[in-house]
Symmetry: C2
Subunit: 217 residues, 2 copies
């Protein structure tokens, strides 16, 4: 389903040390490794996810993981991407207008987290950001460049950067509390409850008056 | 300053392999190791903080770390504690009354994070929670049993558990965004700005009407 633009480059994988039972073609193998890696990074965190374990989940030889992705850090950067295209999504989120933007964004975020791929990607990014500088950079870029700042700027509010970082704090905190730390009842609340709970927070952070920003002098 | 109730137990440390220059007595040594461990867990995350590195920061032999604390996991559980006593703090936070409780809690949390010890403890807990189940359990207990649920219950609101987990999501998200991921301008905003920004969020989560809680059936 998610065929990679890179899969043509890797048409002759090296003969693995032992043959695996699962060899659905080069592109299928790469996709299987990517899916296994997303699961491992989301479930175990960056440091505990091992190339050997990822290979085992994917049913391939560990040498194939290195062949396709190079290193654990490159594997992380390749597979733990945003599970959506911001340029497609932002206009949809914004279509409701300023009065309902908080609920619209909450609906998008919570809905994305309800899908297995979205949940694994975002949980993997947030968990890894806690220990791996490269992942922390992905979270910063996600917040500042690709999603929340463009969203805040499209709304024409002042202090778009501060608004975006506040939205980011609530969204990252939601991922931590609902999926990583699993605090009840937030962890098992249905999506509509979560949307109704955090929507007004995002609404305020995005468009309602905020205090003047002070910086330490 | 924070003398441990356990320090009497450890009066005869084993002779270290090489003598360190810094041996300010048993209790001082234990405190120095604890401070170094808090710094390391906060700065590096649980997985990357090593006993050897912690010993080096504290200026002691690695054997002393094991002597005083047993294992890395026990060291973590011993030193990364809440940097305050909830039974003392909660009445102070609550003293302002319901109308200003969000700002009062925000002021306490942000102020705690402005101190080196508080920031290291809380950042260490949140970072470790991303990879270490024992730390995730500390965060869950912190939210559910020791701080936010008692706070929500003292306010007499319905759905204290949901309110507490929402407060926890914003507080954990603030720690991640301001200190771990370091999203600007939140990372360098002055305390008053942060308090004014998240206070109303905590106010709503704690005492304002929330949607009825739905659970997946």
């Amino acid at each position: 389903m998610n065929s990679s633009p890179d899969h043509e480059k890797a048409q002759t994988p090296p003969a693995p040390g032992r043959r695996s039972g699962r060899r659905p073609g080069t592109s299928g193998t790469r996709d299987a490794i990517a899916a296994a890696a997303r699961e491992a990074f989301a479930g175990l965190g960056y440091d505990r996810a091992s190339l050997r374990g990822i290979a085992q989940r994917a049913g391939v030889d560990p040498a194939l993981v290195l062949h396709f992705f190079g290193s654990k850090q490159q594997l992380f950067a390749s597979v733990v991407q945003l599970p959506f295209d911001p340029e497609t999504v932002l206009p949809q989120v914004l279509a409701v207008g300023r009065g309902a933007i908080g609920e619209s964004l909450a609906r998008f975020v919570v809905g994305m987290l309800e899908t297995e791929r979205g949940r694994n990607s975002l949980t993997g990014i947030v968990r890894a950001a806690a220990s791996e500088p490269a992942a922390a950079r992905i979270v910063r870029e996600m917040v500042t460049e690709r999603i929340f700042v463009p969203l805040a700027e499209a709304l024409g509010t002042d202090d778009a950067q501060l608004r975006a970082s506040l939205v980011g704090s609530q969204v990252v905190g939601l991922v931590m509390a609902r999926y990583v730390v699993a605090v009840e009842p937030l962890a098992s609340a249905d999506p509509a409850t979560v949307i109704a709970a955090i929507g007004p927070t995002l609404q305020r952070y995005l468009v309602e008056p905020l205090p003047a920003v002070g910086r330490p002098s």
